[in-house]
């Protein structure tokens, strides 16, 4: 099979996995324990990483834009730049990229190890569906948890920008906060909070797909884990572009 044929075959298999996920979405009621456990592992356990990611993104954004705006005496615009930048773009994208690495690698390595040790075959052999037992709980957990994590990154980023702006450019905290909040329109919030749902869905499904198709021992597992993170990260950037260019203009 040529490289191109393999790619088409892979896309077909991935599409079938997505079809399976939608077809068996209702099975989540039989797998609540697994879903809650995944929510804890994907969501709660990622809190510190997202907190740090959001905080430093907001701080760097405030410093970089602050230095440029200072030359025009327009430091009052830092709040608006940080707020819109975090909510519309950087909050969702940084959260997505960090979770693509953390959650994507976790899902692929777990499912890949299960595939290599015949545990996936065992599930099927004993009449259980790997999609229902393993993929759907992870997908739902990502769909539910990515939104609050993005919200945390947004808020922490704006707060970080506010503190740096106050210390470095002597902006007033209350003015900064008021400007940051009032600059946000419903359209900004809608786009900013719609992105993580798409990011979460694709990170979960891509990483599960690579996990379930692992073969070739530990080398294959390592390769598939890298692929899962790379493909998820690349797709996040593509989806972000589509939202910024197409969806934003349609709204």
């Amino acid at each position: 099979m040529t490289r191109f044929q393999k790619m088409i075959f892979g896309l077909q298999e991935f599409s079938l996995l997505i079809k399976d996920i939608f077809a068996h979405f209702g099975s989540v009621k039989d797998n609540w324990t697994e879903t809650i456990q995944e929510m804890y592992l994907i969501g709660t356990k990622s809190f510190f990483l997202i907190f740090l990611g959001g905080l430093f993104t907001g701080i760097i954004l405030a410093i970089e834009t602050g230095h440029q705006l200072e030359t025009f005496g327009a430091t009052a615009w830092i709040a608006k730049t940080v707020s819109l930048g975090m909510v519309r773009e950087l909050g969702p994208v940084i959260t997505g990229l960090l979770l693509a690495a953390r959650t994507g690698a976790k899902n692929t390595s777990e499912l890949g190890a299960m595939q290599l040790s015949e545990q996936i075959d065992a599930l099927r052999a004993f009449g259980a569906s790997p999609v229902e037992k393993l993929v759907i709980p992870r997908t739902i957990a990502a769909l539910v948890m990515f939104l609050p994590l993005t919200l945390i990154a947004d808020i922490v980023g704006i707060l970080g920008g506010m503190l740096v702006s106050n210390q470095t450019f002597h902006s007033d905290i209350s003015v900064f906060w008021n400007t940051a909040v009032t600059s946000l329109k419903m359209k900004d919030l809608f786009v900013g909070f719609l992105k993580p749902i798409f990011f979460g869905f694709f990170i979960a499904t891509i990483s599960c797909y690579f996990g379930l198709t692992t073969k070739g021992g530990t080398t294959g597992l390592g390769k598939n884990t890298i692929n899962a993170v790379v493909y998820s990260s690349a797709l996040i950037l593509v989806i972000d572009f589509i939202f910024t260019k197409v969806v934003w203009e349609l709204l």
Partner: protein, 256 residues
Amino acid sequence: MIELKNISITLNDNVILDDVTLSIEMGMNTIILGPSGAGKSSILKIILGLWKPDNGEIIFEGKNVCKMTDDEILQLRKKVGIVFQGNALFDSLTVAENILYFLPDKKKLSENEPKYKIEELLSFVNLSGTENLYPEELSGGMKKRVAIARALAFNPQVILFDEPTTGLDPINTESVLELIEKLKQNGTTSVIVTHILDDAIEVGDNFIVINEGKIVEAGSLEKILRSKNPFVKEFFKRFIEENHNPFIRISKEVNK
């Protein structure tokens, strides 16, 4: 009877099975013998419907497994259990949870029923008291016996064993073989894939020898030993030599 008719399967341009036809009699221990990579384990995966062959049909209880609906395949898998080569136990679950995980109709069972079922199954495989241990706390032989207990949870008519004694020490090997014999006495059909001749001969009733995806000989042990096929002769050479060696023969008889 389980019948495989003209089964062929190719994976990534490699011929795994080539026009394989065989039948497995119920209530007997059927051994599928052959070297590593001969296609033995593929037969088990095809019987269970985990792999779909490119050609041919698998007949179980008069129905073609290849043409079964998803629901029919689920019903089939409740009648046919499997013990994987690597056991395939779930690391994050205890022994009891591993067995309970696949227990059918758990919701219909009363409060204490799962507990009694686990105790009964673990007692059958001589592992009472290990309910709360995790797979990493068990030896290779114990893991194998838990895998057998898990396969028995459905009360299957047929159990497929993929290399059940590979990597086990002689004591654990003996206990696994004893379990297979015990299952036969209970009326369970076993299909055992192995490349270990001694173990195969100890529990086997019917033998199928496979090489490079093709069946080269099938029948009773006597028929196999009389085979003129060069591969079969080579494969059984050591066994025949040992049984002609008086010291080894006497040693085996004394041990029995």
